[in-house]
Amino acid sequence: MNNILAFPMILPIIAGVLLLFFRLKPNVQRWGSVLTMVVVFLISLSILEKVMDEGILRLDFGEWAPPFGITFVADAFAMLLVTTSSLVTILCLLYAAFAKDEKREKFFLYPFLLLLIAGVNGAFLTGDLFNLFVCFEVMLLASYVLMTLGGEKKQLTEGIKYILINILSSWFFLLGIAYLYGTLGTLNMAHLSQRIAEAGQPPLLTTISILFLIVFSLKAGLVLYFWLPGSYGALPTAVSALFAALLTKVGVYALFRSFTLLFYHEPSITHTIIGVMAMMTMIGGSIGAIAYKDVRKIAAYNVIIAIGFILVGLASNNIESMQGSIYYLVHDILVKGLLFLMVGTVIYLTGKTRFDQVSGLMTNYPLFGWIFLITLLSLGGIPPFSGFAGKLLIGKGALVAGEYVMVAVAFLSSLFVLYSLLRIFLHMFWGETSILKKNQIYLSKGMLASCFILAVLTIGLGLGMSVVSPYVTDAANVLTNPHLYIEGALNND
């Protein structure tokens, strides 16, 4: 019994609901939510350590043994993501606390953010397919509200699209659950895995697995990313950063879980499709990233490229590529958060959204400019920043798997990443400054602090990647050996 496992999800919910009672006390809201996430982060870290010591942990809600009750299962993969997500949430909340968007703060910005992260953490932890659906809904409902919070026209119209596509994918998810339950008669993921293995994944199950692939691809933005660029462009900075860092990652997580734990018997069908989709995503993202001058769009398409890149690891389906994907996921959560904070801050400082409308920010905000350069290099996977290890291993894994075309697309896409962001850097940060000193908007140290910390993290993580290695190795080990997960999630002693 590991009640502590429930906390990464429950604590934010409690805090979120409690903060409702402090509607007109913005400081309580701000620092209460930051504090909550700090606690959640520390708890997640300790769970992660415990997982390393004791192996996979499990919490049976209501003490109903699996597969009958709902369980939370913490393996290193899930916990790494929970920990990283909580960390990036702290920084986004910190940014929001200094950005002081009082209009939204009064309308429960922080409770919704906390509920969002609750859903995210729940999705990472749950060991039950239907509960995954419910956790998704917690996250999605919160994201729907955040998407439209503020009521600006663009938020509303983009919100309608975002929400409808997600509703659709939720119903497909339910459809998939119905089919799976009809065939296998159970909902616990480990139990499902056992039964699928026993049945040898007949063609029907492969078909159903493709339905799940579509569902999670919609969430992850794999090929079906149509909702993504528009909606991310309509959000306030801190929210967009959190969306970019987390929302798609939950879909990615679900893809990894379902195709390593459940449907891993027919990789020649499923993983081939994933590979093709990953390439399509990278290509679509790459051309999208250089197509527009709107910095938010550029950033959004960069999210898409990364999704494709991470999925190369799943498609290649070996231990190296899995490790690579996990490294890259951890990196991407942090750096996408950073990128969106940077982009949002640029817009805040200049009031302009297109990079050709601004120049010379380096002169006005030098430290900010350097952080942007670091962001750019880190996103491009340049060592010694945090993206390198993942990039390296994904490449290696794909090569070992003989996926040469995929390797080519993946590494070309990182050139597009660099180019798309380099354009922003060259135009907006270099050049003659277009802002006079006296008209310069003050960039508060608090807002800069979040960016700075994330930048330090990407460097520190890059240099100190060996700190993360044991967790990643362990996580990839579980992903490539489903029986480990099953043992951890089902054994009753």
Binding site: T148, L156, W171, I177, D294
Partner: protein, 112 residues
């Protein structure tokens, strides 16, 4: 019975899909509502129909119908209620704000 209901579900899905592809938001919402109905029906069908008594323990009945899908559907109904009501409110607000319920007019610009 199962086959009949499945066919009905198929019909509902078709209708829902057709509505979802409309450019009028109201039609789209109706489509989504019908889709959720269809899936709830399908979910209960997946547990097998009328294969026993009402799943309330009593002395008379020996077997019960599969109760788990019912619990899931109950959850799903509530969730779809939550989603639908939020979406309705959004639609209403959007109309209030931009004066249209036509998706074609909600395309947004490409900013360049």
């Amino acid at each position: 019975m199962e086959t009949v209901i499945t066919l009905l579900v198929g019909l509902l899905v078709s209708v829902a899909t057709y509505l979802l592809l409309s450019k009028n938001v109201i039609r789209v919402v109706l489509g989504s509502a019908i889709l959720s109905h269809a899936i709830h029906l399908l979910l209960i069908t997946m547990g097998g129909l009328k294969k026993g008594g009402v799943p309330i323990l009593g002395d008379k009945v020996e077997t019960y119908v599969d109760a788990l899908p019912q619990a899931l559907i109950l959850t799903a109904i509530v969730i779809s209620f939550a989603v639908t009501s939020f979406f309705l409110a959004l639609m209403y607000r959007t109309y209030q704000s931009i004066g249209t319920d036509n998706l074609h007019e909600m395309r947004g610009t490409n900013d360049e």
